[in-house]
Each structure stands twice: as C-alpha cells, then as structure tokens.
Subunit: 202 residues, 2 copies
DNA sequence: ACCTCGCCATGACATTTGTCAGGGTCCGGC
DNA sequence: GCCGGACCCTGACAAATGTCATGGCGAGGT
C-alpha cells in the first residue's frame, strides 16, 4: 500500500527535486505539489494525501499556519514540516500547529523517507538536538505589543514611523523597545530583533 | 555522450534531491557531490565533471570563490551558479568569477536541465529579468572600508564594538557609516545595510 | 472590592548615533 | 610635480535612541 504525499515549497526547482527524490521510493507517491501556503488546504482536500510535507517560508500563508488549517480541515492528513532553519521557535510553533514531524533541509537524504514512514506508523519525528534547544529557549516572555513593535523595526524604520504605523505615541514605542531589549538581554534594537528571531519569540 | 556533473550545496537533503532530479535525464550523470565550497576544486580535479553546479551559501568557501578557483584549476569545467537568491550583486560577482550560467532555485524544474545543456553548447545562461536588475543596480559606490564597516553592523554591534574589531577610532566608524547611509539614500544603519544587501553592494 | 498585570501614555534624562567641518598620510595618473 | 581620491583621524553639534519614574485605564483573579 503506497503512501500518498503532498509537497508544498515555494521554490519550484526544489519542489521538483524533492519530488524526484521521493518518487524513487516504490511506496511513495506524490499526489499534489503546490507553491503557496494558501493552496495547501484545497489541494489536500482534493487529493487526500496521507502526509503533507510543508516548507515554512512560503508566500500567501506560511507553512505553520497552513499546518493549523490542515489539522482542522483534514485531521487524517499528517503534517511534517520541512524547513531550512532549525530554529527553536519554529519547532514549538510547528508542534502547536499540530505537526507530527519536523525535518531540516540539511539532514541526510535518507532521513526524509525515514521520517515519513515513521510518521505513518504513528510516531512523532523530531531531531533530538533541536528539541533540546527548543526547551532551552523557553516560552516567549514578550507581550503581544512588544512583539509588534520589535517586528516593525525589521525594515529599519525609526521610532516615529513605527508609532505612526501602530497608532502609538513615540514614548510608548520606546518603552516597548526598551522592554524587549531588557528581556533579550541585549543592548539595542538590532540585537534584540536578532536574538528574539533566533529564539522564535516572534 | 553523457554530461558529467558536480553538485555542491551545503544542504544534504537538497543535494540528494537535486541529484535525483538530474539523474532522471538519461544524458546526465552526477559524478561528484560535496557539501562545502573548499571541497569543490579537489572533487572536480578527481572526477573531471563537464559542468559544476554550485550553490552560493556554503561553509568553508562560498560558491563564488569556489567558482574562481575552479576556473583557474580546471578551465574546461563550466560553472553554473545555483542559488536561492536572485540578488543583483550575486550575478555580477558570479560572472566576474567566471561562471557561465546562473539559475535561481525558484525557477521551473525543467530550467535546470535546459541550462546545463545550453551551457554545454557553449552558451551563457542567465535569467533576462535578473540581468536587467543587475544592470539597474549598477556598480557598488561603496569603498572597501565602508563595506567592512557596514558588514560589521550585521550582528547589531555598536560603534565601539566595530571600532575595536576593525582597529579604527569610533569617529571614523561613524564617518563610514554616515557615508554608507548617504550613498544608499537611507536614514540609518539598519536601512543602509538592507538596501546595500539587496543591491549586492556587499 | 481589591490587587495585579498588561496596555497606553508622558516628560525628563543619559547615551548613542548621524552629520559636518576640519586636517593628516599615501598612492596613481595626468 | 601636482591633483584627486581612498583612507585615517579629531572634535563639536543635533537628532535619535534607550532608561526611568510616574500615572491612568480595563480585564481577570482572589
């Protein structure tokens, strides 16, 4: 009995390559392949895959959000997140979104097929080292507002811009930034943004 | 007559997948596959590929530097850069390093095989849209020092840290930063770094 | 009802960052 | 031989950023 797969990755070439890799296994069949997160649920509803392989960075809807939608609409379809970044926060959010597997793109090639079969057998599949890192990073101590403000600094915007965009006063924005800097134990926004990102606090 | 290929990409899974994709073509044979830039030249010397497919982001030596080494040691081996980022500066530097092809990872899957055959036929292969963008971005107006300083801000370090790391005075660092901000027509380091990155000026 | 806590805000302050106007060396090209 | 430009530095100033003390409002918990 063959395992039906759905593949979601925004890079066409990679998607094609993964498809080629997976089709080498006799018990796998790629039944759907999409390039946007917001096409995942529809494609899954139509082709009824056993396992969905989702990249995180995708236009439309990211892989984590797509996983959540999928878990709701087709609980029978198991979700494996397949991503470039072994970030702690990604793993936590993947689990919260109902994923049962998490594979990073620099794992050895056999890992993927292996993970898919294990997931089909009802197991959860996670790199142990990454799981440890995730626990170490802990829950995000940032409040929703602090997250918003920190995220808004991404483009390099100044306090005034952020205040305008979020309808806050400049003083308030500075406060949140200050709080975020304190909580990340850093010395300025740029650093705070970087470590919050790494820890998956955004 | 089959085309012998060398594959270099730091992500094992992707490398395996690309290999699977390429092996589907009867006239292709992947004769070597490495995960670090500094292994490219040796592997090529040993296996004599006709075409080397190099990712840019790699540990040891990046794909562009590896291309330059390869062009020197095995001029018969044609280089195709295969990268995630269609950044203008990457393309320019790839051409300067002696690459004859440039393919982005979100191109349609057939593109790759096509590019390889075209390159074997003596043609250069570049996405026209990207080529236009590269010309539009122009040469980098940044001096070597301005590049250094701007690059050093990546981690979010302050002026004092950078000054220490580069053995410059704080005033000088501020000057270079100021110059870089002016040349990118932005309003602070973060923005300057972002646009310089996009334009391939680093 | 009271307390806590997240959220919003203010104003004052120290520090950091960006700008400007200098002045110095060294090198390659006209 | 002189000029221009990359490179290094200083010091002074304005603007942006980060910190702190303080207070009001609303929601949830005891």
């Amino acid at each position: 009995m063959t395992i039906r797969l759905l593949l979601a990755d925004d890079q066409d070439l990679i998607r094609g390559a993964l498809s080629a890799l997976l089709e080498l296994e006799e018990d796998f069949e790629v039944v759907a392949s999409v390039g946007r997160g917001d096409q995942v649920a529809d494609a899954a509803a139509e082709h009824r895959p056993d396992v969905a392989l989702l990249d995180i960075e995708m236009p439309g809807l990211d892989g984590l959000a797509a996983a959540a939608v999928l878990a709701k609409r087709l609980p029978a379809c198991r979700v494996v997140i397949l991503t470039t970044f072994g970030r702690a926060g990604y793993l936590r959010r993947a689990m919260e979104a109902g994923a049962v597997g998490f594979v990073v793109k620099d794992a050895p090639p056999e890992t993927l097929a292996d993970a898919i079969r294990r997931v089909m057998a009802g197991q959860r599949v996670v790199d142990p080292a990454l799981a440890a890192a995730t626990l170490a990073a802990g829950e995000s101590p940032l409040t929703a507002r602090e997250r918003d403000v920190l995220n808004a600094t991404r483009s390099g915007a100044g306090v005034a811009d952020i205040a305008a965009r979020l309808y806050l006063s400049e003083g308030t924005v500075r406060n949140y930034l200050s709080a975020a800097i304190a909580k990340t134990a850093t010395r300025n926004r740029a650093e705070a943004l970087r470590v919050a990102d790494e820890r998956g606090w955004l």
